[in-house]
Every structure is written in C-alpha cells, then in structure tokens.
Amino acid sequence: MPPEQEIRSLEDSGDDLYDTILTQPTDASQRCRILVVDDDDLVRARLTALLRNAEFEVEAASNGGEALRIMESRHCQVLLTDWQMPDMDGLTLCRIVRSEHAAGYVYVLMLTVRDSKEDLLEGLGAGADDYVVKSAPVEEILARLEVARRITHVEYSLRRSNRENRRLAVTDPLTGAHNLRFLMKYLPRELARAQRYLHPLAVLSCDIDRFKQINDAYGHEAGDDVLRAFVARAHGCMREGSDWLARVGGDEFMVVLPETDVVGANRVAHKLRKVLSHCAVATHAGPVKLTVSIGITAVEAEPEIREFSKIEDLLRAADRGLYASKQNGGNNATATSIAAGRLASLKHKGDKNGIN
C-alpha cells in the first residue's frame, strides 16, 4: 500500500490526527446540503425549488446509484429519498449510506407514499433517521428538514470541536509544532512504514544552544520568541506534507524525515543550522543570535531497517549524536549509527559545508 493510501486508511479507521499535518478540513462550509432522490422529475423539481427557498443547498438524483455517485464527490448532510425507484431503491441506498464511512453524518429522511406501520419500521430499520409520507403537508416536510438541519449542524459542530481538541492534544501551544504525544504516536508508524517498504527514515534531534542563557539574559518572553522562530525557520527547511517536527522538551525538538537517508538528513541538518545562524532572531528584547546542535540518525538499509523495531533505538541514537555535537562545542551536527552506538563518520562542524 503506498504511503498516501496508508495514511488514508489511518484516517478511515477514525484515527485522523494526520489530518492536522497532511490534509485540510473538507467541510469548511456550514451551509446544509441536501440531496433529493426521486425518480419523478416533477417531484424532484418541486422539492428542489421548495428546499432552495428554504435556504438549503440542493443536489438532485433520479435513483440510488446516481445519489451515491453524487455523495462520493461531495458531502451531503441530508439525504431526502423516495423509497421505490428504478435501479436502486431508497431502502438499499439508505443501507449503503449507513454501511459506508462518510466524512460526516448523513441524516436520512425517507419521503414515500408507503404509509403503513410496517413500512415505517422497515424504513427506520434500514437506517433512516426520519420517515414522512408524501401526503404530509409541505409545512411538516419542511419542519422535519429543519430538524435535520439542526441535528447535522450540531453533529458538524461536535466533529469540528473534536477535531480541534485532537489537534490541540498533539500540538505545542507555544510554537504550534507537534508535541511529544504526537511524536510517540506517529514515529512508530513512520518506522513501521519504513520497515514494511524498506524505505529509509531519518530523525534529527535538535537542541538550541545556550537557550538557558538566552532566557536568563533576555527574559522568558524573548526565549519564547526564539522557540517560535526556531519552528518557523525549521519548517522552511522541511518538505511540506511529509517531514514533520515535534517539540519534545523546553528547547528540544525532533525532526522526522521519512524517505530520507543519512546523507539527505545531513543535508537538512546543515540547511537548518545555516538558516538559524544566518540572521539574528527578532525578540521582544532585541535581536538574539541563534545556533543549534543536532544529532542525526537514520535507518536506511537491510537488515538495519528490519532489525530495529523500537523507536527508542532511533531516538537514543539521535540523542547520542546530539550529545556529541554539544560535547564538540555546539552549533554542529553529528550522525550516529543505530546499530553500533558509535559515532558515524558523517560529521560536520561550524560553518563548514560538508562531511568531515
């Protein structure tokens, strides 16, 4: 399964934290869209006109199959469907809508001439939320659709609120970067994907040099500015929609680089150091010079990829590199191998552009 599909399957499983980094919300519009399904063109036209006057956004289909095709292309909050139709009837349509995972809840109102109690029970049993006979006064049909509008609005608000809560749960409020919780949830998945497809995966462990002194000298507000600037500049060095960054401590960050070997990771580390030290960060207390120490590690070849199934190995190796960089005076990047726990030969120091 390609990574995009895998991500999609994660979303389909209801675990859609990846929305926050890889996709945009699909339901930005709050206007209630209603899909009218009836095989009678005059009835369709009548209902369409009626509902547009009632300020619904209206789509129309002549049978269940056509309705499903419309619903595949755009989310309809309300489905107003007839029962008996050629090709696919309303009952079958209702069952399919209920069995499939949609972006949001679909409120189904069956509008039919079938008026027996058995029919009503069968319609509700198939998944309809409400059931009304066509002979009901127009006012009643509209009133029931207002209920549908109200309920779908509440559902939309709850879903949006849940999405926002999930986003906040994995977001560092100060910098807007992901937090440790996100790292611990998604780094294992990145590693699993790398192992499954034998693709490389790199991690940079970053620590802002002399951050405590910055806080002490310029104040915490300036320190916060520095953290925000770090995140903003780091994002400029990363591939959008693929690489990601998490704040894991006061001034510690992890950059995750899927599909990246140690050479590529080293290149990103160099770029990161360069953009951070290139010009001072404007803070509340004035400009502050900024440098960063980085530990680099990557899994990139068999059997290494298959062998290391724990992210702890990956993080520990990156931290060893970071420690070595700090030991060397900071403002440098050191690559370490996961396997041996030894420093790799890929090392660069200061402003040198290359590998020592």
């Binding site: 009835v43 036209a45 009626l50 509008r149």
Partner: protein, 126 residues
Amino acid sequence: MGSIRRRPRKAAAIAHDDGFENLRQAFHARLESERVHFVTLSAALARADESPVWIFEDLVYRAHRLQGGAAIFEESEVAVAAGKLESAAVIAAESHADNTNEEVWAALEALVRLMGNRDSVRCLQA
C-alpha cells in the same frame, strides 16, 4: 459550539411561491396525459384474454408514480385514488387475477373519473 442563527422563512411562504405554480401547471398537464394512459390500459384490460399481469404491473407503476406526484402537488384526492388503484393492482398481479378483477376496475374507474372531473373543472375555470 456555534449557534444556529438562521431563522427559517415561514413554511407557507416557501411552499407557495411563483415557481410552484409553474410546476403545478406542468403536473396538471401530466395528469391529463396520464388519464389517457389509464383509459388506454383499461381498454387493454377489457380485451385481455388470460391473466393480464403486465397490465396490472403497468397500472402499479403508473398509479404509484401518480400517487407520489399528486401528494407532493397537493392533489390529495387523486393521490388517495391512485393509492387504491396501486394496492388493488398489486394484489391482482400477485394473485394472477383475470381481467374481471372487481377491485382493480372499481379503483381504475374511480381514478379516471376523478381525473376527468378535474379536467372538466379546469376547462370550466378556463
């Protein structure tokens, strides 16, 4: 959670705007042509030798469609009469009744008469 600020228009105002009249006229035109179809089907039923299942099924289809349309266009008498014909024709088709089925004929004649009366009323109104 946001509130629902939209105050819906009065349902009666929504239900009877100009567009509705155009559609209602189109539906009345359909009623006239449907009446012709029902008369034709009744003639076919009268001539049918053996179990005329296909005629009953056609009656079911047309009566069902007419019932739904009439209900939506507020022609309740037509909707009720069409519903009775549909029910009678369903039973006749399932039981392989012959062309003398009384329930079907009664419902069919009542519906055609009602639709004819409607035509006459509209002609007089015109």
